[in-house]
Amino acid sequence: MHAVFRQRLPSRLIFLAVRALLALGLAGCATPPPADDPDAVADFVQTNDPLEPTNRVFYKINDGIDTVILKPAAQAYRYVLPDRVRTGVHNVLDNLGGPVRLTDDALQGKPRRAGDTAMRFLINTTAGVAGIFDVAKEVGYPGHDTDFALTLANWDVPEGPFLFLPILGPSSPRDAAGFGADMAINPFTWIGQGTTAHTVGSWTRTALGALDQRTGMLDVVDNVKKTALDPYATFRSLYRQNRTAKLATLRADNQATIPIWWPQGKNTGETGQSQNPTPR
């Protein structure tokens, strides 16, 4: 359910969500454990969820909405459409995120990732028929996931306390800010704004995006709800670990800027220099 809407949601909803959070949210704070129990205090600090009571309220609301609307819709989506069509939809949505990802890759100082994203967008938009087919992956430009919150993280901006946002799900001040920034960066947020085509387009994109992401998480969410004693705490843990792992992957990704199909000996300076003088 959560992180379902992360990428694509019209700005109006976000404002509503943030306003609801401000109105309701700041009222309930978690009670810290007594200071004479250092282990409990350490736990409390590590969990870093001072707004837990409020967060739990929003978790319940989101969970209710999910049970009634999103989950059945995702189940229907998976039931009605064959695998291939859903993959096509997923690819189109993914491709539309290309420009944002390119900006983020560049701001993160990852030239290879930026190059991959640029080539993916060019190849998949044309040869991949508006992004339906992921041709770029086959020719040596694998995709990756990134967002502005990871850019901030890469710049050492701290995460801040845990937040469970209405509709958006698990987040943090850094991730919420990153989400807003990604919307602002996205050319599709602005191109043709005010026209009917833009309105229809952005709502379609939002709805399909939600369905696509929720469908991908059907098994995971069901499993957590079945096995966790405290699903809220488990989702919090999963979300945080997932973000930390993504940041670690991003930081460790310092590949050279030669694509896979290019003979790897060339241009590396050392290995293939003598046998393969690079044509200039």
Binding site: D43, L229, A233, T234
Partner: protein, 205 residues
């Protein structure tokens, strides 16, 4: 003469390397190799059960056998109780570990159906402190391949799995935080946790 001296230095250096660094690296490489083989073997056994034609109780029995032999369940249980392990009485610790065994077997057995047609391939291993991390790729029909890392303790002597990472998410850490939150919200009562665990396994049988 100079050349001989030089040669002698080289020889000394080589001996020192042979005496210290190299065997260490070799031992590490061997440990990683052993961990890889151990995981491939365990994976093959699991896959055989998942794709095999046993009845549900038989499958559960087989899973229990594999778990007890290849996973340090007691150690993982202790890790999952975290700081509450010290609060718990010896009796509570015992009952918690017993309940944990049941929960683990039940959770795995109930998911077996989803994994029909699964394939597990060991990709590589590496040493981290005293443990080995083995990276595998799990492929399921009509699902994208998933990277699963296995944390193996004592890889050279008596390898046992102590954690599983799916896309960077630690199973035992998630479980520990689930239990910690449950306990904090139930007056740190370990008995309440054990009861909740038992209820869970009873529901799913």
């Amino acid at each position: 003469m100079k050349r001989m001296l030089h040669r002698r230095h080289c020889l000394t250096a080589a001996l020192i390397m042979a005496g210290s660094g190299l065997p260490f690296h070799r031992a590490q490489a061997q440990a990683v190799e052993k961990a890889n083989a151990f995981l491939q073997q365990t994976g093959d056994r699991l896959v055989a059960i998942v794709n095999g034609a046993l009845t549900a109780p038989q499958k559960r029995q087989a899973i229990t056998q594999i778990l007890e032999g290849t996973v340090d369940v007691d150690g993982v249980a202790r890790f999952c109780l975290g700081r509450f392990w010290r609060i718990a009485s010896t009796d509570q610790q015992k009952r918690f570990v017993a309940a944990f065994h049941e929960v683990l077997v039940t959770n795995i057995s109930s998911k077996l159906g989803d994994y029909k047609g699964v394939k597990l391939t060991v990709q590589r291993g590496r040493q981290q402190d005293d443990e080995a991390i083995v990276t595998t790729v799990v492929e399921r029909p009509s699902n994208p391949p998933t990277t699963v890392d296995w944390l193996v303790e004592k890889p050279a002597i008596a390898p046992k799995i102590i954690d599983v990472f799916t896309e960077g998410v630690s199973l035992r850490l998630t479980q520990r935080q689930d239990y910690a939150s449950y306990l904090t919200r139930n007056n740190n009562d370990v008995d309440a946790l054990i009861n909740a665990m038992k209820q869970q396994t009873a529901q799913k049988g």
